[in-house]
Amino acid sequence: MTGMLAMDISSLTDTVVPALATNFFPTPMLAALPLAAVNWHSVLFLLFAGLACGFAVGVVAADNVVRMALYLVFSLGATAGLFFLAGAEFIGAMQLMIYVGGTLVLLVFGVMLTAQAPLVSIKPSSSDRTLAAVAGASLLALLLTAAFSVDAWMAPGTEVVPAPSATPLGMALIGVRVDTPPPGSPAGGRVGYMLPFEIVSVHLLVVLVGAAYLARAKRRKTPRAIDAVASAMPVEPVTAAPVAAAAPGRTAGGAKSALVGGGR
């Protein structure tokens, strides 16, 4: 979450005069520090990357479905941190709000609704586990070799602090590309995203209505106990039936036993 802070630090580190530091702290303490200039951005990246990958593997390893959901929450939270570190702060915040705050809450609700005792932890057999591990490792190796094959990606970043992307993104979504074209990219070809934006909004509407319809309470073959009874509850009309003998204000004679006789 404090990714932005690191960006300011790193952009200033090269302007500091290291010599100034040593004469003020002649003590050996400073000299003992092995690191020339800690690049906080890298440290935070390692932290968040470690969290993301660790919890992702945690999701695979966990058997209890509630724990899987929890690890997934932490993993996607760390991914949001990675987005901040990469300078895409709007996407980071969006990930936090929509993905972790919305989708995963939906997922956890789904887990809570279906996590009856037997279904909470379904253990895959050990043979499946080894099979999955082998397949996973080979897929990973394939991806990494592909990633390493391109030299341009191998070079370290130039650490040019990008301009805030919230407003350009907003403008891009309504079709006006205001961000300066990044150096080296083809000059003209920047396209607005008005059409996909509208399509996604309609798509979301349709999908959510569909999902609500799919999970609706369907009609029942045998009505539930409470529906039948609730409708049969006798509810009196509002006006009370006028009492036959309206008692005069003062207390009249007390009640008599029906057997003794004599009117009211």
Binding site: V38, V57, V60, L76, I122, A152, P156, G157, L173
Partner: protein, 142 residues
């Protein structure tokens, strides 16, 4: 700026030796001081992607599969954002610019919609068969 050369490890045959993967010097000197490049994001993206695929194959719980899908989508998202970030851009390398972020945005939105439908189906399935164990979903078998 100190840049570091990458020892060529590609064999002339084009197929990299799997064994040599571990020797690739990602951080020449010290991971805490070297700036982060696109490749590091790609590694994280790959790990997440693989974890997602493994989760989808391994878990017999329908919700486990859903979580696998979320991980796969996030792996892709990381790559998009990595390529769109000018901070991680190597010298002179072109970046996706804003397009990468917009695509990541759409992926997040559509993942929400997809999760909603998937959950509706899972709840229906749970409703009719009192279980979310995917192996038991064999009603349509001939």
């Amino acid at each position: 700026m100190m840049d570091f050369a990458v020892a060529p490890f590609m064999l002339p045959s084009g197929l990299p030796m799997p064994g040599c993967l571990a020797t690739v010097p990602l951080f020449a000197a010290n991971p805490f001081t070297e700036p982060v490049g696109v490749i590091h994001y790609l590694i994280v993206g790959a790990v997440l992607f693989t974890a997602g695929i493994a989760c989808m194959t391994l878990k017999r719980n329908a919700l486990g599969i859903l979580m696998g899908i979320e991980l796969v989508l996030n792996g892709a998202n990381i790559n998009f954002v990595a390529f769109s970030s000018s901070y991680l851009r190597a010298e002179g390398a072109p970046t996706l610019g804003l397009d990468g972020q917009v695509v990541a945005l759409f992926v997040i939105l559509l993942a929400a919609a997809e999760a909603a439908v998937a959950l509706a189906i899972t709840l229906n399935f749970y409703n009719n068969h009192a279980t979310v164990d995917v192996d038991r979903a064999d009603d349509l078998k001939g």
